[in-house]
C-alpha cells in the first residue's frame, strides 16, 4: 500500500474498514507487533476452518506450514517500519488439513485512537496462488524433463536460428558427428552435411523462410551426414519449429542409422542367400532324385535285359551250328522267362515308388486351385515384370480330383509359362489364366503366354526327358499329362497367336453327390 492510502485509512472509521475486510475473498489478518493476532477475517476463518477465538493470539500461526514459518517471520519488523510492504509465499493449512500456496503481503498499519498511544499493527493479506504454483511447477518439470531428454538422447539434437546457425547441440551430437558443442555453436548446419547436400539445404531453407514451403519431409527423412573425420553416413532427421521472442528456432533430431542400414542390408542379403540356396537345393534335389532314379532304372533293368539277350543270342548261334542241345535250350528259355519276370518286377517297383501316395479324390473347385497356385507364385509375376490376367468363370461346378495333384499341374503350367515369358525382352510379358465350361460341358482351364512359344517341338513337349530348358529335366509336362488323364481329362498344347503357347486341360464335372 502506498502512503496515500495509508493516509486515507487514517481518516476512515475503523469499523468500516473491518466490514470491508470481512467481505474480500483474500485471507486477511491483523497482528500486533508481538505477532499475536487481533483479528482474522471471515475468509481466513472459513479457509482454516477455525473460529476467530482460536486464531487470535498466537493461534493463527498454526495455520502456517511448519516449514514456511521461519521464512514467514524472517522479514524483520524494521523493514515494515520503513514503510515497505513485504511479499513472500507460504503454505497455509486448509480446514481439511491440506496446505495450499499463498502469496503473502505484510503491511504495517499505525492506528491512532484518541484515547491511547498510537499502536503498530501488521496487516497480513494472503492470496491463493496454488493454481499458479502448480502451473509453474508443471512448467518447470516439463522444462527440466525436456532438458533431460535432450541431454541424454542418443540422437543428436540441434537447434538453429533463422540464419541456419547452430544455437544448441546436445552431447549426443558429439558422439554422432565428432564435434564438441563448442566447435558447432554459431556455425552453419551445412558443416554437418556432405558437399552435395549443402546447396540444396541452403536453397530449401531460404525458400522455407520466405514461403513456408518445405523441401523435405520434416518427419523421419533419410539424408547423409558428414562426420568431423570426413566420413559420410546415413541419418534420419526430424525437424520442428517454434517461435521464441519473435525469432524462429528450428530444432532437429538427427539419428545415425548406419547400423540400422547395415543390419537391413545384411538381412536383405541373408534373405537373398536363403532364397537362392532354397531354389538351388530344390533344383539339385529334384535333379539328383531324378538322375539317381534314372541311373538306377537303367542299371536294374539292364541286368535282366543283358541276360535275356545273351541267352537268346547263344541259342541262335548254337541253332545255326545245329549244335543246340534240348536241355541247353530249356535252361536258356527258363532263364529268359525268369529274367523277363525280373525286369517287370523292377518296373512295377519303380512305378509304385513314383506313385507313392494313393490319390485322394474329393470335390474340388478348380478356381480355388488356380487361386491357390497364383497365391503361391505371388510376387513371381511382379518380379519378372509379367502382367497377369485371370478370367475365372463364376459358379463353376466342382471336379472330382486330388487337390494337391491338380495344384502340381497348375503350378507346372504357370511356371513353364513364366519361364517362357521371361526369355522375352522386346514385347509385353503377358500371362492369361482362364477357366470356363467348354462345348462338351467339361471344365476347361487354359494358361496362355506371350513367351517364346513351342516352335516345331510342340509335339515333343510331353515326351519324358524332353526339355528346352537349361536346367529342366523334362518330366513336368509328362507328369502333368498323366495326372490330368488320371482324372479323366486331357492336357494339350497349341501355339498362341501371334506369340507364345497355350496349354489347356479339361476335366469332367463331378457327379452330383455329397461333397
Amino acid at each position: 500500500m502506498t502512503s496515500e492510502t495509508q493516509g486515507a485509512k487514517r481518516s476512515a472509521e475503523p469499523i468500516d474498514l473491518r466490514d470491508l475486510i470481512e467481505t474480500i475473498p483474500a485471507l486477511v489478518l491483523c497482528a500486533l507487533a508481538d505477532g499475536s493476532a487481533e483479528f482474522a477475517n471471515r475468509a481466513w476463518q472459513e479457509y482454516s476452518g477455525r473460529p476467530l477465538q482460536e486464531l487470535t493470539g498466537n493461534g493463527w500461526q498454526t495455520t502456517i506450514h511448519p516449514d514456511d514459518i521461519a521464512n514467514f517471520f524472517h522479514e524483520s519488523t524494521a523493514a515494515l517500519v520503513s514503510g515497505k510492504s513485504i511479499e513472500t509465499e507460504a503454505r497455509l493449512r486448509r480446514a481439511d488439513g491440506q496446505y495450499q500456496w499463498f502469496s503473502i503481503r505484510k503491511t504495517l498499519a499505525v492506528s491512532r485512537s484518541q484515547s491511547s498511544e498510537p499502536s503498530l499493527r501488521i496487516l497480513i493479506a494472503c492470496e491463493d496462488i496454488e493454481e499458479r504454483k502448480q502451473e509453474e511447477s508443471a512448467r518447470r518439470y516439463s522444462e527440466e524433463s525436456y532438458r533431460v531428454v535432450v541431454e541424454t538422447a542418443s540422437d543428436a539434437v540441434i537447434s538453429l536460428d533463422e540464419r541456419g546457425a547452430i544455437l544448441l547441440a546436445n552431447p549426443a551430437t558429439t558422439r554422432v558427428f565428432g564435434y564438441d558443442a563448442g566447435e558447432l555453436l554459431g556455425k552453419p548446419l551445412t558443416m554437418l552435411m556432405p558437399e552435395f547436400l549443402r546447396k540444396l539445404h541452403e536453397a530449401g531453407f531460404k525458400r522455407y523462410l520466405a514461403t513456408g514451403q518445405r523441401h523435405i519431409n520434416w518427419q523421419g527423412t533419410e539424408l547423409t551426414g558428414l562426420r568431423k573425420n570426413g566420413q559420410e553416413f546415413p541419418v534420419e532427421i526430424s525437424f520442428g519449429e517454434l517461435t521464441k521472442d519473435g525469432h524462429r528456432v528450428f530444432t532437429g533430431f538427427i539419428r545415425d542409422i548406419s547400423e540400422r542400414k547395415q543390419a537391413e542390408e545384411t538381412r536383405k542379403q541373408a534373405q537373398q542367400t536363403i532364397q537362392t540356396t532354397q531354389a538351388e537345393l530344390a533344383r539339385v534335389s529334384r535333379l539328383t532324385t531324378m538322375g539317381e532314379l534314372a541311373a538306377s532304372i537303367a542299371h536294374e533293368v539292364n541286368q535282366p535285359l543283358t541276360a535275356v539277350n545273351n541267352n537268346g543270342n547263344a541259342c541262335l548261334r548254337l541253332l545255326a551250328k545245329q549244335n543246340l542241345q534240348p536241355d541247353v535250350l530249356r535252361r536258356a528259355l527258363e532263364e529268359i522267362v525268369a529274367e523277363g519276370t525280373r525286369a517287370s518286377a523292377i518296373i512295377a517297383r519303380i512305378r509304385a515308388f513314383i506313385k507313392k501316395s494313393p490319390v485322394e479324390k474329393n470335390r474340388v473347385g478348380i478356381n480355388e486351385v488356380v487361386g491357390e497356385v497364383l497365391a503361391i507364385i505371388g510376387h513371381g509375376f511382379e518380379e519378372n515384370g509379367i502382367l497377369l490376367q485371370s478370367e475365372l468363370a463364376q459358379d463353376l461346378p466342382p471336379v472330382l480330383g486330388d487337390r494337391v495333384q491338380l495344384q502340381q499341374v497348375m503350378l507346372n503350367l504357370i511356371m513353364n509359362a513364366i519361364e517362357a515369358i521371361t526369355a522375352v525382352t522386346d514385347r509385353p510379358r503377358l500371362l492369361w489364366v482362364e477357366s470356363r465350361i467348354d462345348e462338351s460341358g467339361d471344365i476347361l482351364v487354359t494358361v496362355r503366354d506371350s513367351g517364346t512359344g513351342l516352335g516345331l517341338e510342340a509335339d515333343r513337349a510331353f515326351t519324358p526327358f524332353f526339355t528346352t530348358k537349361a536346367n529342366g529335366i523334362g518330366m513336368g509336362l509328362p507328369i502333368s499329362r498323366s495326372i490330368i488323364e488320371g482324372h479323366g481329362g486331357r492336357l494339350w498344347a497349341a501355339p498362341n497367336f501371334p506369340h507364345g503357347a497355350v496349354f489347356s486341360f479339361t476335366m469332367p464335372v463331378a457327379d452330383e453327390g455329397p461333397s
Binding site: A295, L305, T306, A307, N309, N310, N313, A314, N323, A332
Partner: protein, 208 residues
C-alpha cells in the same frame, strides 16, 4: 605246350554270368565264370591264351581298381569291360589302362564276341613272343662261355681274324666256335643269328 584258349567271366549278377557263359560257350570257347575278383585271383593262371570279361560294378572293388591290381601283379590278361552305367571318363580310364573294349549292357552279342576274340588273339601273340624269347634264351644259355663270347663279337661286326687277335687264339678256332654256336642257336644264316641276339638283348622292347 600251351592249352586251348580260356575266357574268364567276372560278374556278380548270377543270371548275367550264366548267360555270358552260354553265349561265349556257343562259339566253342572254354568259359570259366567267377562271382568276384577275389575268386578269380585264386585260380592259377592258365598256360593258354586267355581273356577276361569284367563287370565294372563289382561288389567290394570296382572293375577299374581290379584292372590296376592285375597290372601291379604283372598279370597281363586282356580285359573286355561290360557295364550297366558306364560314363565317358570311366571308359577313357579303362581304355588308357589297356582294356580291349568297353561295352554297355545290353550289348550286341557280336561286339562282345569280337572283343573276346581280339583279346584272345592279342594274348596268344604275346605268349608266342614271350615263348620265342624264352626258347632263344635257353639256346643261348646252352652255349659255352667261349662260344657266347665269340658270337657276341661276331654280331658286333668283327672279322674272324680280328676276333682271334682279340681273344689270343687261332682264326680256325674262332671258326669252329662260331659254327657250333650257329648250330646250337638253330640259326640258318648269319643274318638270323644277328636278329636272335638283338631279340635277346631287348626282349621287353620287342614284346611290347
Amino acid at each position: 605246350m600251351t592249352g586251348a584258349p580260356v575266357v574268364f567271366v567276372v560278374d556278380d549278377d548270377p543270371s548275367v554270368r550264366s548267360s555270358l557263359k552260354l553265349l561265349i560257350g556257343s562259339e566253342g570257347l572254354q568259359v570259366e565264370s567267377f562271382d568276384s575278383a577275389d575268386t578269380f585271383l585264386q585260380r592259377k593262371p592258365p598256360d593258354a591264351p586267355s581273356c577276361l570279361v569284367l563287370d565294372v560294378r563289382l561288389r567290394g572293388s570296382s572293375g577299374l581298381d581290379f584292372q590296376r591290381q592285375l597290372a601291379a601283379r604283372n598279370i597281363r590278361i586282356p580285359i573286355v569291360f561290360i557295364t550297366g552305367h558306364g560314363d565317358i571318363p570311366m571308359t577313357v580310364k579303362a581304355m588308357k589302362a589297356g582294356a580291349i573294349e568297353f561295352l554297355s549292357k545290353p550289348f550286341r552279342d557280336q561286339d562282345l564276341l569280337d572283343a573276346v576274340r581280339t583279346g584272345l588273339e592279342q594274348d596268344r601273340a604275346r605268349r608266342e613272343r614271350e615263348k620265342q624269347v624264352t626258347d632263344l634264351q635257353q639256346r643261348f644259355n646252352s652255349l659255352t662261355p667261349r662260344e657266347q663270347e665269340v658270337i657276341s663279337l661276331v654280331v658286333s661286326g668283327m672279322l674272324n681274324k680280328q676276333i682271334a687277335g682279340q681273344l689270343g687264339t687261332a682264326e680256325n678256332t674262332v671258326k669252329v666256335h662260331r659254327s657250333r654256336a650257329m648250330e646250337k642257336m638253330c640259326a640258318q644264316s648269319f643274318a638270323e643269328l644277328v636278329r636272335m641276339i638283338e631279340t635277346l638283348k631287348s626282349p621287353s622292347e620287342r614284346a611290347s
